[in-house]
Symmetry: D3
Amino acid sequence: MKNVVVRNIDRADAAVIKRLGALGTATVHEAYGRSGLMKPYLRPVWAGGEAAGSAVTVLVHPGDNWMIHVAVEQCRPGDILVVGCSADSTDGMFGDLLATSLKARGVTGLVIDAGCRDVKSLREMGFPVWSKAISAKGTVKATLGAVNVPVVCAGVNVEPGDAVIADDDGVVVVARKYAGEVAAKGEQRHADEEAKRKRLASGALGLDMYNMREALAKAGLVYFDEPEKD
Amino acid sequence: MKNVVVRNIDRADAAVIKRLGALGTATVHEAYGRSGLMKPYLRPVWAGGEAAGSAVTVLVHPGDNWMIHVAVEQCRPGDILVVGCSADSTDGMFGDLLATSLKARGVTGLVIDAGCRDVKSLREMGFPVWSKAISAKGTVKATLGAVNVPVVCAGVNVEPGDAVIADDDGVVVVARKYAGEVAAKGEQRHADEEAKRKRLASGALGLDMYNMREALAKAGLVYFDEPEKD
Amino acid sequence: MKNVVVRNIDRADAAVIKRLGALGTATVHEAYGRSGLMKPYLRPVWAGGEAAGSAVTVLVHPGDNWMIHVAVEQCRPGDILVVGCSADSTDGMFGDLLATSLKARGVTGLVIDAGCRDVKSLREMGFPVWSKAISAKGTVKATLGAVNVPVVCAGVNVEPGDAVIADDDGVVVVARKYAGEVAAKGEQRHADEEAKRKRLASGALGLDMYNMREALAKAGLVYFDEPEKD
Amino acid sequence: MKNVVVRNIDRADAAVIKRLGALGTATVHEAYGRSGLMKPYLRPVWAGGEAAGSAVTVLVHPGDNWMIHVAVEQCRPGDILVVGCSADSTDGMFGDLLATSLKARGVTGLVIDAGCRDVKSLREMGFPVWSKAISAKGTVKATLGAVNVPVVCAGVNVEPGDAVIADDDGVVVVARKYAGEVAAKGEQRHADEEAKRKRLASGALGLDMYNMREALAKAGLVYFDEPEKD
Amino acid sequence: MKNVVVRNIDRADAAVIKRLGALGTATVHEAYGRSGLMKPYLRPVWAGGEAAGSAVTVLVHPGDNWMIHVAVEQCRPGDILVVGCSADSTDGMFGDLLATSLKARGVTGLVIDAGCRDVKSLREMGFPVWSKAISAKGTVKATLGAVNVPVVCAGVNVEPGDAVIADDDGVVVVARKYAGEVAAKGEQRHADEEAKRKRLASGALGLDMYNMREALAKAGLVYFDEPEKD
Amino acid sequence: MKNVVVRNIDRADAAVIKRLGALGTATVHEAYGRSGLMKPYLRPVWAGGEAAGSAVTVLVHPGDNWMIHVAVEQCRPGDILVVGCSADSTDGMFGDLLATSLKARGVTGLVIDAGCRDVKSLREMGFPVWSKAISAKGTVKATLGAVNVPVVCAGVNVEPGDAVIADDDGVVVVARKYAGEVAAKGEQRHADEEAKRKRLASGALGLDMYNMREALAKAGLVYFDEPEKD
């Protein structure tokens, strides 16, 4: 790994990001062929936060948040900062001062495969963060990493400029070149689900609505009217 | 394991379930001889949710939620759906469409030893879920399991028709045949605790109220007025 | 380990505890040389709780909360109760009756390296608890431990009379003899951060504010204007 | 839960247990319809141990191994002792003295959903144990549990007299009434696998041997001769 | 994600792989700028196994090992098979039949971000596997994934044809284009370490050998001849 | 925390350490009143290793092993090095070069609340290590910690000069001033156990040998000759 900062990255289209954000992570993940989902150990540090943006990526090392400071300068309005860490860490690498700086630059949120602190302030600021842990543990500024190189964050390889969508259900990443196609598929899926929701709410069964009965019988499912006796 | 659906199960008595639900998991667990408690990794997906019901059970496999669709049809008002999984999984097997369907059938909640998604919608719908993880990960519909057979969920063997009580403290299961007895014991315990609470609030010590001093001395507890010096 | 209760411990100064509590865990931890922080698996059982106090310590064994009852008597207004456990446990060793008793004695909160139950009541009472797990699992009263001896809780050795600060970011412990010095350093840090926060909010970069550019270049950080081609 | 010891249980057939043991856990689990497997966190405390037996079950509480002493008396030659614990625990509830006693009674091994100690001695004695943890943590003898009632151990509900097979791959449990049927199916599966192994060793492809190509194509799998270009 | 199999991938150079394998994971990881290391939860299923190869990659879904069968056909002598899974899973997706097939094709080992079974046979065959879990849990063949696309495995993004080195210390991945450079740097490092080892074995101190004393003093390290008194 | 190295510490008596080492961790832990045991996540990196020594302690930070180099100089023959880390880390902070240096100084082993690498070499050298993880992850040398101050390692507060005993069952720490007393108690316990072992091996029951039957009956244990029918 080289210690580089890449300055001029291509970004995911802002209009597409907005559409993806409106769909939410579950729908985007499905529309993307059930891909791009980060591990569920990443959780929002305050409930109800939502964010969507074009990824600025940063790679840090355990116990050291120096490169997050470097990454701030590379962020523009509409970006979301994605932090990968070279080994498992729960250190509190991000807090309210960095959030103040990112917010001032129009960044929509932070996704970090490590710890976060100053949770109360972040909630009051309305700055959403998805992290692996909440920890006040302080970090040093001694070791270089990289900015805007591909990083693995919570099990997903994130390229600079990928579209990132995050909400109460987690974080999903869509490659920039597929973002538009995924948004369109997701909107179709969303429309279909609205219709299904109405039918289910009125008492229809998924078994019938999805025509599952035949496939279940073919697979060998058997119904009994009472428990089998020994 | 056979791929069966058992249709006509005996259910726990609705009036007893209501009494158990009013007591809450901690009191029910104590009244049941400190039994029936699921592992604490099961957590409510939104805080403050409470549910009590007669168990409809379903066994699924990792990555596959087909049998939950099958189970919906077997649910009646006052039921709670309990999902066991044949291996560790965090996949998001349950979301707002299934919740809409269960709610339409009068189901009081879901307990799942796997993941759940659409948390925001579930909170807005007021449909309570206890799960092992929150994850947008989608699942397939390819492998059979079983409905209304005994399943192990978060460390407890649940029989169809058991009484299930769930709240912020977790989930407890009471065998149908003991449910009435446990409700009665729990109500007695609850009444006793109210009296104790008043005494403690006014400054009484548990040491005196529970007559612990003699037993502690007999067991060898010693008091010092200052730390022992090296 | 001897089964003792030490009655007359020296306590951290109440005025200093108040000042530390106002600073919060992250600032206190930094001002204490990045020391004293408990592991991040300790979490508040209800969000937003805050507590600061002088430690009364208790050592218990898995499945047994007898010594917590013993410890209550040793608590005075302004104390915080810190419970270490001799092996990993998630049992619900603490609930609303014990909280009622502690509150009646003016205790400010509980930190426990095990489980807690009655979360709903604790939130309604406004009694803050930091625990390893939420679990309704009941415990017995059969085995002695100790009160007001040094205990390790969530990775930190806590002496009776240490200052303990807890909030949404976790729990930090400051040795009694350093508490005043740490409060002073923390207040200085807090003042500095307020000034920094304003500058960052107006768009200043940490890279400039902290004079990092030279050190980064010296360490070998390189900037590119576009990604390196293969 | 009542504090009972059931003395005269029906046991799985010794000849059938022997046949199941010869097949190993993976084959038995498959032959049992992919059922009965304990969670993989249960591991042998020394590599290479194997055991098969008829289950004597015991339920204990965290930090307390009293009931294991009670259970020893109920064991006969060919039994395997299965210990469930009412809450998560890593305490070292079992060591070489208990193993000496079990070995003297002809017990084939121990499966415990908690900790084990004296690993070196157990290996030297050749007494196999599957546990959740290795820990020297001592336990008390203060709280009753039960012997020969159904217990959940590592995610499986075990009835007294079930057949239990354990090896390097883990632990699998077969209900007594299905044990013979499962042995027969397993032996058929084993014979089939031997034939397959020879073909695979000589270079045959599973894709051909299992006739997968058509199903894969139908499901939509596509082959490319070089990576797709962006 | 598309369901594709890429047939003709470029492979890492066999001679370079051999040199990397001789260095071992720790040296390769250091020579690669402390990059490319998989998470330490991946462990060898039998101690002492070592493997090095050019990666054939496969993406599977929880509970389903269909694509591993597909991937076998794409393997050539000197390859190592790397399996990523779209969500956390411990299922036993790989066993001795697949190992027989891979061995027949000259594959050097398997790295899988899920479970493995038939450990005893694998050890006897001398086929090395690094996995997240050992589990007899069987899987189905119902859902497509992909072969020879980039996959994230245990926290590292692996491209088809990357060099993969695995031993008792874990698994490290080197991008094909850097493999030769890393081998050269690693060999230099290895030679340096041999010299250092001799000096250290004869009693030299690292403090002197690495000239650390000045830097330590400058950073503020202070020596005392006895503990500070309170 | 101050960045200090304490040079002249008092050490546990070598003869006493030898006696404690001969007893093993389980017996020492029991003789010490069931105290001093480190968490069971600390495991030997190679099976069968045993070590006993007087503790030299070192506090490091995640991702940084600088202070281990500093600590080496403070070690004398018969010491055991105990490394605490200020936050959770699995980084490979220790490998064969440091082991070579420690071995040259007569150090008996290493206990580290973080990761270790070069496992194969350590086994070949016969240098025993107990660690939280095995990981090739490299570390930097940038941040100071402390040597020979009290450190918490795997849940135990270790003072410089404490007696540390480690084997396959884990790691136990005895305060220097109690070491002799604990050795004597442990030897008595060991002698008693030998006698018990013989009786148990000849078929005696612990129930009788420990006179448990009366206490069990008094506690309410009931025996049935067949399972209760529903």
